[in-house]
Symmetry: C2
Subunit: 142 residues, 2 copies
């Protein structure tokens, strides 16, 4: 089973739009997608895997230019393994810093949410007191 998929199905599977798939190919992010005699693309399993990896890189905010570099040296073969590793290590570093920052920010946001909750509670309590006063007043009216 080496079923090759048309672009539409690849879009469905990967979540990238057809436009984006063609755009990425134009940018040189994907080498040599197989074509039918009529020019239509057929994507292999390997292509899908590569696209998944591209998605990993993009979803973690690697700039497209860097992905182009990565794709280019990957195409150049074995001799660039070291450069590829270094590129990924740089990204890994960026990423783990970003992760740390996000965690800190998340904590700040959680604190703010907690603060709002306590404000809401106070507000709620204040209303209850008003209610009680009102019912006391009603009682005294009787």
């Amino acid at each position: 089973m080496d079923k090759e998929l048309p672009i539409q199905q690849v879009a469905a599977k990967t979540g990238l739009s057809i436009h984006t798939l063609r755009y990425y190919e134009r940018l040189g992010l994907m080498a040599s997608i197989h074509r039918l005699p009529n020019g239509h693309r057929r994507y292999s399993e390997d292509d899908l895997e590569w696209i998944d990896f591209l998605k990993c890189l993009r979803s973690t905010a690697m700039p497209v230019a860097e992905m182009q570099r990565f794709a280019e040296i990957t195409r150049q073969g074995e001799s660039t393994v070291r450069e590829r590793r270094e590129l990924l290590e740089a990204h890994q570093h960026t990423l783990s810093l970003a992760l740390q920052e996000m965690q800190q920010t998340l904590a700040i946001i959680e604190a703010k949410i907690a603060h709002y909750r306590s404000l809401e509670r106070k507000h709620h309590d204040a209303e209850k007191i008003v209610d009680e006063q009102q019912s006391t007043m009603k009682e005294s009216k009787r």
Copy 2:
């Protein structure tokens, strides 16, 4: 000590550019920065705190439109505490999903790096073998 800072120093302290500070104000992300009689801005401690929080939101990819909403309802005062909390909770949710995804991606990238390392090791070993063969050949030449 209620020293109010000119825009230049705020830029230096916050890491936002002077342009961005003015731009954010135009967008309504910051209410009522105090002005000198000549129209120059003076930022208070509170302003700086608010800017820091804006930075938190932006650095975690909250869209500017959402930040505008948040700023707007914050200006409206107490009555919007609940909506503010809900807005932040939504962001918190988005954020923790993003965090998870990043962690997964990080793992994938680490695996790829490890893979490259092992390729490099093999390559290195292969060279060593070639070296040994060469020195053996040299020896046999003697």
